[in-house]
Amino acid sequence: MSRLAAFRGIRLVAMRELVERVRSRAFLFSTLLLAGLAVVVALIPLGVRLFDRATISRIAVVSAEPGLAAYAAGTLDQYLNVRLEAGGSTRQFTFQTATDEVAARNEVLAGHFSAAISLVRTPAHGLDFRVYSSGGLGTDRAQLLQVGAFAVGILDWTASQPSTISPFVQPAFEVLDASTGGASGAGAMVAVDAADYAGRRIVGIVLVVLSFLTLVFYGMWVASGVVAEKTSRVMELLISAATAQDLVIGKIVGIGIAGLVQVLFVLAPALIALIGSGAIGDAMLGPGSGASASLSALSPTLLGAFLVYFVLGFALYAALYAAAASLLSRAEDLQIIALPLSIPAVAGYFPAVLALSGGSAWFIRVASFVPFWSPFVMLSRIAVGRAEPWEVAVSMLLLVVTVPVVTLLAIRVYRAGVLMYGQPPTLRLYWRAIRGG
């Protein structure tokens, strides 16, 4: 019976929170605002491509075979930079030969080149194009390079006839990450198609920013809800009708569902904009503009991971916010706790951003397992395709274990804190509440 009663309490508290929240004007306005923002973010790739037409990508060309690099650079320049009749040109690339592949790749990493092309002649007299990029090469540019590579391959083959009687081999074309590509690098060389990679990054950024904002934002909903119950003095009536456990869990669940509803309302128009941007891009930039690539990066797996991390991450942060707010007496005091509470989230945000740009340093790997950070960092690694399934499983498991522990502590603090009035929220007070609760 008591178990049923506990669920009844949680359900009722959650329902009240959900209904009051969703009905409120603030909810409507923040949903509209965030949805608008998400649509803008979703359209950014399209805007970048439109803007990108006016920029010039510097490409280094390296080859061990004497003359091949210069030959390829000249051919690519001729084919890819269309000269206009008026004498001007829509110059999109400059090609420059380099002598050392490693040096060229470092230049790419340093940002001096958008990409470095390493040309290798295969035994079958074909050409192997390896394009090293660190994300500085847009989707459409990568596709243009592939077209150029085909042209170089054909010309090279024609020039070699008839001295070598061999059939034409379509040049191999691969875009590699400049930092990890190459046999000497630690870990497996991950070949990511540039278009795909750019799309993944955009989607990853959108999801990570969304997670970060919403966790902190909805966490503050929980905190302000707790403080409001204290300042309106309804708390005593409430705590005599329901247990601290019902109130804390009910609040987290109710506001969590309200938040999830909002996230879905924010994501839906953004998805539509993403789909639309493919069509718009094709219309403005010609077919195969690559603008729709972002959408393909938003795989069901990634969306599912996002939802799981959102739910678990929210539960974790919401419990913290509920506990912290339970010791406050006035709404103004929320300002005092807002900053320290956002620190764990901010600390997780930075490794997440680094992970999105392809970083895989040890601290990023570690951060992606820490429960308060994994909702951002592991999500980033999943988004850019740099997470093993077991890593994802372990990070989720750690979250699943941490959430109830933190929630129990939060309930202790809450029980001790809700009837405390007039004391400034000091760390000592929280410690006493945890110990004494």
């Binding site: 003095r233 309804v234 005593e236 005599s240």
Partner: protein, 331 residues
Amino acid sequence: MRPVPALPLCSCRMSLVIDHLSKRFGAVKALDDLTFEVAPGQVFGFLGANGAGKTTTMRIAVGVLEADAGQITWEGRPSTELPRSTWGYLPEERGLYPRMQVLDQLVFFAQLHGVAPDRARREANAWLRRFRAEDLATRKAEQLSKGNQQKIQFIAAVLHEPPVLLMDEPFTGLDPVNVMLLREAFLELRDRGRTVVFSTHQMEVAEALCEAVAIVDRGRMVVGGSIRDVRRSTGRRQVRISVAGDHRLPWLANVPGTRVIQAGMDRTAVELDEGVEPDAVLAAAIAAGARVLHFELADPSLEQVFIDHVGRPADEEVHLAPDAADVEAVA
């Protein structure tokens, strides 16, 4: 200080027992071995000045606070094992959800106590009607006057039909009409078999409404029992006398151990020390040639009993100072 009369704890297991309850907040002793008993089906007054420990006792009963020692039992079961719906609690800290409609709040709180929503709605409407407040049902709490909010909170406390009502200063802040409505509600709930415990520092309210009271001071039991016993607990008696002629009763000076405590045109209340017989007053009046129109024996008012026991009126604020030993222990 006068010896504290021990409360006879009746053996009936059906009652509400405050059993050697102690509670400390840091260096301050809020409750100090507080013990008394409330018979079921009674309206019981829990009397004391602000800071006497009334709110702390009620909070321990409803499970909001934990006692350091002792317990509260209802029908033999300790409060820590009882479901929360045992109690109908009106906290001294009044508060409702400001933006929520009155009826929605009432149904919400009743549901928390396990009442089905339909039934909660029906009962809430019935209570609103009897408090002449049907029009408040769809209003938001923040739009209500303090008195009306208090009525809504009272309804929230009783909707789930709890066997015991714990009302913390329920009459404070109500206008006379609402005081009357609330008193009627108390009596009706008692007639339906509920036990009603309310705290107050207004003695006249307790006198008019309670069958039994407990007077507490600084967390300690001072005196308790039926109103009649408590009023007689000081051992002093009063006579109320009415005479034709000089109302100042100058002849009273001839009777040692008497003093006028309330002079009036109609009746004058005279307090007698222990051992002074009322007959002596009557005899002195006749001897002085006064024409006695009215003469009655009366018990002192609860207010006077309170002052007698506690040493000051109940509406005087108490500041609980930590005693010296406690301060040292903390430092």
